[in-house]
């Protein structure tokens, strides 16, 4: 077997320099006329180790992490030329244990089964990994539409776009509404800041999404398919385009697909301008129709009247990526994973103060603690775990004491957060929870479509109150006012954006009320984040009188002669923190 050298060229890998590594390897291979096969793949999930290069030879697989151009050449020299793998760079191998085994050990890869293993721009790679077998199975065994729907229902798959609605049931509704035209839309808007599950799937395994759509189209009798993908995902769009071309060429898209008489279906990509609200299904449809992305009241649900007023089924990327696997392996196989009401696996994007950030896919039912501490390796710099934010702007913060909550729709909902699309932002003791709430509310506030009063104006008023609190202008009664506004906004907004926008505020009030009170009553930020609430003082014992702080202070708040203890005039200080960072003797303290 010819040795394969595979470079991970997902967006994250490219950002970390993988493209350069690839180019270097290519040039080197040519120049030296080396004998190995150079291939591309996409993100395998170990973002914290990018760039990644995998070498597969007769002895086994070796995934190398943090490979820059120089190390790449070193790998060629040592591993390929001298046949001696460079163990210290290996992050994963089928031959021996590495510290990163923890990261992969408990994962179950269904959605991400091919991500990082195949060349996403090559349909044969996908086919070699059982790709398009599911649709072939449908054609070959003459599975009826209802059989397909029944399989999906029995698998227990629930929508991964955030709502968690049973996918099979959704298909059934769309199937029930008869019309000569129907649509299936893949929601690849992924507007949640910090989430990149869908992007990784689209970049790493676009064909599985297409196959999922084709199966869905068959089940509901859709005549057209649209992938609504945010324009900020150029690589995903490019790979989807390539994949669609290839699928058309092979007859997976087009007329009488795989000989199924009358099954005509094709897919188009619609680029979205990147408004968060366009991920909401009615706004998404408006946007595809060329109108402003503004939600409208449901019912009618898209299943009855959607794109161009025709029955339409909308599914998330991850949802669809599960479909081929389910059809191929059967509902029972899928339902083996997970809890009673949440079956299968879920992909999470680990981010924040966590040691191993990246993409993980875990069976439903794993505890949040395991995800963070086992897979994620715990908190960076040995700090204390404080909370994890789940569900992005629509979600909430789960505090450390609830870390044993398991990932399943209902358990997460019970905490006030939501499973959402799978963002997990981990926070340590240095995170101010009001600052976090403010961050998310600022996001939703800016992303509101502006249609309904509560969401457009109410969130803005809430943000103003939060800003006041973080800047020392908080008043008694602010917490109650926030809660009152939150409930009204939740109860009275038209779409999911408004209905969930207050969640980050509500959960932080629920679990960290004392922090709010400290800000309001004592004008203190316990996590030392809200600059307006901090005081900077010179620690006399440490001050050497080096004058660095005084020289750098933008407002000349620091006085003191050379080699004498300095003083900060609190009246003048604007809390910028420059002195703290500049002082080499730990002589500035924050409180």
């Amino acid at each position: 077997m010819e040795t394969k050298v595979i470079v991970g060229l997902g967006s994250c890998g490219i950002a970390a320099g993988a493209r350069k590594v690839y180019d270097k390897l290519e040039a080197f291979k040519k120049a030296e006329n080396l004998q190995f096969e150079l291939k591309k793949t996409s993100c395998v999930g170990m973002c914290y180790r990018e760039p990644l290069v995998e070498i597969i030879d007769d002895t086994g697989t070796y995934l190398y992490g943090e490979i820059d151009e120089e190390r790449a050449l070193e790998l060629i020299e040592k591993h390929i030329n001298q046949k001696s793998p460079v163990k210290e760079y290996v992050v994963q191998s089928d031959l021996f244990e590495t510290i990163d085994n923890e990261f992969t050990g408990d994962q179950v890869k269904i959605t991400l089964r091919n991500c990082g293993y195949i060349d996403p721009e090559n349909i044969e790679d996908y086919e070699a990994k059982d790709g398009y077998r599911a649709i072939k199975k449908i054609a070959g065994y003459s599975m009826s539409r209802l059989d397909v729907i029944q399989t999906v229902i029995e698998s227990g798959l629930r929508g991964r776009g955030g709502g968690g609605f049973p996918t099979g049931l959704k298909w059934k509704f769309a199937n029930n509404n008869k019309s000569d035209e129907k649509y299936i839309i893949c929601n690849a808007d992924e507007g949640d800041p910090g989430a990149f599950m869908d992007r990784s799937v689209l970049e790493g395994d676009p064909h599985t999404v297409l196959e999922g759509m084709i199966i869905g189209a068959y089940a509901i009798e859709a005549t057209g398919g649209v992938i609504y993908c945010r324009a900020e995902y150029p690589l995903a769009i490019k790979r989807l385009q390539i994949a669609i071309e290839q699928a058309r060429a092979k007859g997976y898209l087009g007329e009488n697909i795989l000989g199924i008489n009358g099954f005509n279906f094709d897919i188009y990509i619609k680029e979205g301008a990147g408004a968060f609200v366009c991920g909401e299904e009615t706004a998404l449809i408006a946007s595809v129709e060329g109108q402003r992305g503004m939600p409208r009241k449901r019912p009618p649900f898209p299943a009855a009247s959607g794109l161009w007023k025709k029955p339409t089924n909308i599914n998330n990327v991850e949802t669809l990526a599960n479909i081929p696997w389910i059809i191929q392996h059967g509902a029972a196989e899928y339902a083996k994973y997970g809890t009673e009401k949440s079956k299968g696996t879920k992909v999470f994007a680990l981010a924040g103060k966590i040691r191993r950030s990246g993409l993980v896919e875990v069976p439903m039912g794993m505890s949040i603690r395991d995800v963070i501490f086992k897979l994620g390796g715990g908190i960076q710099d040995g700090k204390k775990f404080k909370a994890v934010q789940m569900g992005g702007p629509s979600g909430g913060c789960i505090p450390a004491h609830l870390a044993d909550t398991i990932v399943d729709y209902d358990s997460v909902n019970a905490t006030g957060a939501i499973m959402g699309s799978g963002g997990m932002v981990v926070m340590d003791e240095s995170t101010c929870m009001i600052d976090v709430a403010k961050f998310f509310l600022d996001f939703t506030q800016k992303e509101s479509c502006g249609k309904c009063t509560f969401c457009r104006i109410g969130t803005k008023r809430m943000l103003e109150i939060l800003t006041n609190i973080t800047e020392g202008r908080g008043e008694e009664g602010d917490i109650e006012r926030l809660e009152e506004l939150s409930y009204q906004i939740k109860d009275n907004s038209l779409c999911g954006l408004g209905q969930t926008a207050p969640n980050p505020v509500l959960t932080t009030i629920r679990y960290f009320r004392d922090e709010y009170e400290a800000h309001i009553r004592d004008k203190k930020c316990p996590a030392l984040v809200c600059t307006k609430l901090l005081t900077y003082e010179v620690v006399e014992a440490n001050c050497t009188g080096c004058t660095v702080c005084a020289v750098n202070c933008p407002v000349d708040a620091i006085s003191g002669a050379r080699k004498e203890i300095h003083h900060i005039d609190q009246e003048v200080c604007i809390n910028c923190g420059v002195c703290f960072t500049k002082c080499k003797f730990d002589a500035i303290k924050i409180s």
Binding site: K446, K451, Q488
Partner: protein, 785 residues
């Protein structure tokens, strides 16, 4: 309230059991039960939006607070609309809305006193409270504050501080007051299909604007004013109104500016028009108007240059004289130049009462048949022939499944009719537009034809010939024979329209069950007017063989049909009775012998000057400047303004505007419509019929004496049937006349029919009278014309 299948279901609302048609919303149901639910973004006639959330209700077994305007009723639904909880949320909503609105006046303790005593100047650049707002008194926010008894707003006021937009002559946009109800955006897009307004930006910065930040005109604004009509706040307001204040009265009348004859509501304060549009508080009733009906009447009624007293021309200078002096001078000269020396040119922007009076005066008092309108149509028998077709109602238009519109710039000439065509287009009717140049209607068309100028007759022949073959229509022999002679290739060269395009038109007409032909006025202003009419009639005949085909003639001015019908025509007496036939009906009625010789037309009266024995003219309105008028011995003009033409006049009499008049018109649907006075004309102005009566009295002629408009109306209706029979659709087969189509294109004389100026009122150019408007029309012409 819409009901799809006529099924009624029962719901309980605030304890009241009622039956409502299936498909109603909760709001419809409440309205029919006489229960008020506060609303802001909802507007009858527009699609429900569900944005403001004020209309929330509680419904048994439904979680949360559904909005009444978007929730359909279901059987046995139990709805509660006024619980304390609901009212408190509503108050919160209003508070939030007002937190971004200059609300100080609304909750001010001294509100009452302030309103009573504060001197209000409304021309401030920014609105800082109700007392500085044009909407004050007619504002829906004020009503809601009152209804919800809001006393306090717990948020600091935020002012958007955006520049007010004052870039057009008609209305101002101060988005500091906008509450984002979206009514303007929806009406502009969903009802007017103008596509100008859109929401811009996101989140709290969302505002209304044009999609690409262009000015209104660049974005294609048609200045229909619909957005202004529906705005619940002072965000959009008529410029005129900002000088006047809150209207205290309103009068329903009819717009006379084009033959659509829209019902309009003239809102007034004292003797001033504040604005024109829907009734206060009824933002879409009556329907919206177009730029002319919405904005022009107030401008011309209160125009500073209006003449208000009789004037005499003393070597080019105008001197005021009394009415007695004026009548004396006029009478003296009318005695001198009666009979065929005398003629009257009237306006089709006048009531049937004035028209009837003018022609009767001409014939009975002056003994002349020289009576006509200005401008005229080339085909002098056009209206008599048009009368042979059953009229089509404006609101019937959207019921047709194919519309063939030819030779018109309807979005300018008849905006409301064209609006219905747009609607039909959006209801999947096939629209075929053909004209000699591009215009806005093409945006709403499935087939777009642009034929060479002046070749419309040949284009119609192409259609007719193909229609005959495709549908195998049996025409009378002469027509069939004539059609055989047409060489398709030659015809194609002459019009520039390929055979394939003709085929496509026929194909899109073929499946239609109801077809409407809309014939634009330019067809009848060209020299092939007669051909065009005949060809259209034959097409109509052919289409009627397989579909139900209606025919609509886009006659221009408001009372064009009515004026002609009541005798403003040198060849026809009232009711299209021919002068030449020596009809006795009117001779008997008027007690004189009417000369059986046709009179001179407007063109003949003027273009043969001097030398045709024609010496004296009474002109109602204005004419294009024509130096031959200088040859007249005596020329009286009755007009609202001094114009270029006035320099030839000896006497100038002031005139009423239709906003001050009483009477009727007959519109394009041949419906009789009432004109009601909304304001009094300035003191010294007299209506035309009264001036004529005075002259007649001076001339000691007893057969022409009126004291009230109504006397004329009664006289007309006693002798003339004004209710047009709508039941019999006559399909006329007019003989096919053959235009010469073999002349090669290069040698063809291209007849440029200049785009008529539709912005005229009684011949006066509105764009001259309203200076900003000229700019606007020029720009418009640039973009859409």
């Amino acid at each position: 309230m819409k009901s799809d299948k006529g099924i009624y279901i029962s719901v309980e609302i605030d304890g009241k059991q009622i039956q409502v048609p299936e498909g109603s919303t909760v709001l419809d149901a409440a309205t029919s039960a006489g229960i008020y639910i506060p609303t802001l973004c909802y507007l009858k006639g527009l699609k429900s939006y569900g944005g403001c959330r004020l209309c929330i209700v509680e419904i048994k077994n439904m979680i949360g607070y559904p909005t009444a305007c978007t929730t359909p009723v279901t059987n046995e639904m139990e709805i509660s609309t006024k619980s304390p909880e609901l009212q408190s949320i509503r108050r919160e909503i209003l508070e939030l809305i007002l937190s971004e609105h200059p609300y100080s006046c609304l909750i001010c303790n001294d509100k009452k006193e302030c309103q009573d005593f504060m001197y209000t100047t409304r021309k401030v650049t920014v609105t800082t409270g109700c007392n500085f707002c044009t909407s004050n008194g007619g504002c829906e926010l004020q009503d809601l504050v009152e209804y919800l008894d809001l006393k306090d707003i717990r948020f600091p006021i935020t002012y958007r501080n955006v520049q007010a937009i004052k870039n057009n002559p008609f209305y101002d946009l101060d988005y500091n007051l906008c509450i984002l109800c979206g009514r303007c955006v929806r009406i502009c897009n969903e009802e007017r299909y103008s596509g100008v307004l859109a929401f811009v930006q996101r989140g709290n910065s969302t505002l209304v604007g044009t999609a690409f930040g262009e000015s209104q005109i660049e974005a294609g604004c048609e200045y229909c004013g619909a957005c202004v009509d529906v705005c619940p706040t002072g965000s959009l307001s008529e410029k005129m109104g900002s000088w006047v204040g809150v209207p205290t009265d309103s009068t329903t009348s009819t717009c006379i500016l084009c033959s659509v004859g829209c019902r309009m509501n003239i809102n007034t304060k004292g003797n001033r028009i504040v604005n024109i549009g829907p009734r206060p508080g009824k933002r879409t009733e009556p329907d919206q108007l177009c730029i002319r009906g919405k904005f022009i009447p107030a401008d011309i009624t209160h125009h500073p240059e209006r003449i208000i007293k009789p004037l005499i021309n003393k070597n080019g200078a105008w001197l005021e004289i009394t009415w007695d002096q004026a009548i004396d001078i006029i009478t003296k000269h009318f005695k001198e130049f009666s009979g065929n020396d005398f003629g009257i040119i009237g306006s089709a922007h006048d009531t049937i009462e004035n028209s009837y009076a003018l022609q009767k005066f001409c014939r009975v008092v002056m003994g002349s048949n020289n009576i006509d309108l200005s401008p005229t149509y080339n085909d002098r028998s056009l209206f008599k022939k048009v009368h042979g077709f059953q009229p089509v109602g404006i609101d019937e238009i959207i019921g047709f499944d194919a519309i063939f519109i030819i030779g018109s710039n309807a979005s300018v000439s008849h905006p409301i009719i064209e609006n219905r065509v747009r609607k039909a287009y959006h209801h999947d009717a096939k629209i075929i537009t053909a004209h000699s140049h591009l215009n806005r209607t093409y945006q709403f068309s499935n087939e777009r034809i642009i034929y060479h100028p002046g070749s419309e007759n040949i284009f119609l022949l192409q259609i007719l010939k193909d229609l005959k073959t495709a549908q195998n229509i049996k025409f009378p022999k002469d027509i069939s024979d004539a059609l055989k002679l047409i060489d398709k290739k030659h015809a194609s060269t002459a019009t520039g329209i390929k055979q394939a395009q003709i085929r496509k038109i026929i194909e899109s007409l073929a499946p239609a069950k109801k077809i409407l032909i809309i014939a634009g006025d330019t067809l009848f202003k060209s020299s092939s007017s007669n051909d065009n009419f005949n060809l259209l009639s034959n097409i109509h005949f052919a289409l009627n063989k397989f579909a139900d085909c209606g025919m609509m003639f886009l006659v221009d001015d408001g009372n064009r049909f009515g004026a002609t019908y009541t005798g403003m025509h040198p060849e026809y007496l009232p009711g299209f009775l021919e002068v030449r036939n020596g009809e006795k009906k009117w001779s008997e009625a008027w007690g004189i012998d009417i000369s059986p010789v046709s009179g001179l037309s407007t063109d003949e009266m003027i273009s043969n000057l001097p030398g045709n024995n024609f010496k004296s003219l009474f002109l109602k309105g204005d004419l294009p400047d024509h130096e031959k008028l200088n040859e007249l011995e005596f020329f009286v003009q009755q007009n609202m303004f001094i114009t270029e033409t006035s320099k030839y006049a000896d006497i100038l009499l002031p005139a009423y505007c239709f906003t001050e008049s009483n009477g009727h018109i007959i519109n394009i649907e041949r419906n009789l419509k009432q004109i009601n006075p909304a304001v009094h004309a300035p003191e010294f102005i007299k209506p035309t019929w009264q001036i004529l009566s005075n002259i007649s009295r001076k001339l000691k002629n007893k057969s022409f004496q009126y004291r009230k408009t109504n006397e004329i109306y009664e006289e007309i209706t006693a002798k003339l049937d004004l209710s047009i029979d709508k039941t019999s659709r006559k399909t006329s087969k007019f003989v096919l006349s053959m235009p010469d189509i073999k002349i090669p294109l290069k040698k063809r004389k291209i007849e440029m029919i200049p785009e008529p100026d539709y912005f005229l009122y009684q011949g006066n150019s509105m764009s001259k009278l309203i200076p900003d408007m000229k700019q606007l029309i020029d720009k418009k012409g640039g973009k859409h014309g």
